[in-house]
Symmetry: C2
Subunit: 261 residues, 2 copies
DNA sequence: AGAGACGGTTCATATAATGAACCCTAGGTA
DNA sequence: TACCTAGGGTTCATTATATGAACCGTCTCT
């Protein structure tokens, strides 16, 4: 693992529950030597990716990230394009909708919206990376994303998030093949207990999917009626999002979607 | 310069005018060897900080940045706190208002808003880092930020952005002392020709300023009347922003501000 | 067919990253 | 007061890692 990766990985330990991380905590989280971690932290801080709380001496994410995010959003305003469409679909279905982009072998949340019309709701963390083999978004990406992805994931260890997570490579391969046929992915409690979700791929300037749009609902609310609504609405929205992103839905997938509708 | 810094610096070459950068362009921009740059790009991309356009083979900013920005914003929602206050001040004054955070020896734009009620307007680039010695924001930071900052900047080379930029260390020191007394910084065309601006410091969880709020207007619109309005409104808003950020305006500065009001 | 531009790769070399041991300070406690 | 602990931070010999000159492959323009 290169030095750059080691350093950047430190940034991934931050989450809504972990706003500030100290040197020793970083050491245990990363498993690296204290001196190494410290030098990396210093260098990240010098570049504005971290900043140090002078009171506690702990580190938190720095302003450089916001600046770069503003640039990225200006260049490729995925978030702002996606937001109204996600909100519309969430209202229509009355459930949580989220869009994620692929980041290596994970899905990285871009935007989410919850209609908040129900008492119970799905908790969704925009800071958390989603594994490909355990989520509907991940399966949709494996089915319609870059070709190298599936073999890569198949030979990696498939860790179980719940008792329903697919951990067998053979099963995963079959399920992904099924997603390719259906044009939509469904996962029942594969990532979080009592949560089921559907996902469809999104395309931008590449023939492979760059992201996914997904609907997640408590399993007990995922009735046949809701499933039917999702199966109809999700591909429709995925199509619109793809167009807005300047992408094209591959012809065969478009046929699957229109046949199903 | 460490490897991490070299790699992270590559990210800074992106700007609204430069959405996608190729290997050779990176090489010339950074002055590094092509192989080095390439390996850095690969590693940044593997971590989601860049992504490669498969068509052009050019690189652009990746989704990891958005994800981290979401985390940072959740932990320390500066942008969302600041936005309405900036917008209100911009409307009140009819000019461009921006909030920036310190990032090393530069100011990093966080949010800006332009009332857009005039024909001519100040161009403001949220992607661009602002030098400390040439901008009102920078002077306010030098005056009220961490102590180590001023000596550091004084001994660095003060590059001229315009013919009005302060490039003499002695002059800079005097001007900063003046800002400390006034509680507000004023710079006339120090960074961009025909643009004048005022800035006041913002405080969060530290006794030193962490950011600044500034008003920028075309020099020809910066009349005594407008100046008077800014001198009254800017500290008031800075105070509110500071409070919203959970910070405290140092007592002596608070006295200066209230005496002036 | 040749020239130039660009992306990408190789491998010996040199440089920069590493980590065990150490220091320092603050807070707690006997 | 003296002693302890935990955490942050630093040192320096060692080693692993980053580096870059030269190379390759491909595309495009002439």
């Amino acid at each position: 693992m290169g030095t750059i990766t080691k350093a950047l990985n430190l940034l991934n330990f931050f989450s809504p529950g972990r706003a500030e991380i100290g040197l020793t905590e970083f050491r245990t989280l990363s498993g690296q030597d204290k001196a190494t971690v410290h030098r990396h932290l210093i260098e990240l801080a010098a570049n504005g990716f971290l900043e140090q709380n002078p009171e506690t001496r702990g580190y938190r994410l720095g302003p450089a990230i916001l600046r770069l995010a503003a640039v990225r959003e200006r260049l490729f305003p995925a978030r702002s394009i996606v937001a109204p469409l996600v909100e519309a679909l969430a209202s229509e279905l009355g459930e949580l909708v989220h869009v994620s982009l692929r980041e290596g072998t994970h899905m990285s949340p871009l935007f989410h919206h919850d209609a908040l019309i129900h008492g119970t709701r799905v908790y969704f963390d925009e800071a958390e990376l989603l594994p490909l083999h355990a989520t509907a978004s991940g399966l949709a990406m494996l089915a319609f994303g870059p070709e190298h992805l599936l073999p890569e994931v198949l030979k990696s260890s498939l860790s179980a998030s719940t008792e329903f997570t697919i951990t067998d490579p053979g099963t995963l391969e079959e399920v992904v093949a099924g997603v390719r046929e259906d044009g939509i992915a469904f996962v029942d409690q594969g990532f979080e207990a009592h949560v089921s979700s559907f996902a469809a791929p999104l395309f931008a300037d590449q023939p492979e999917a760059v992201g996914t749009i997904a609907v997640a609902a408590p399993t007990m609310r995922m009735t046949d009626d809701l499933k039917r609504k999702i199966k109809s609405a999700l591909p429709r929205t995925a199509h619109v999002v793809t167009e807005q992103l300047g992408g094209v839905v591959p012809v065969d997938l478009r046929r699957i979607w229109s046949d199903a509708a």
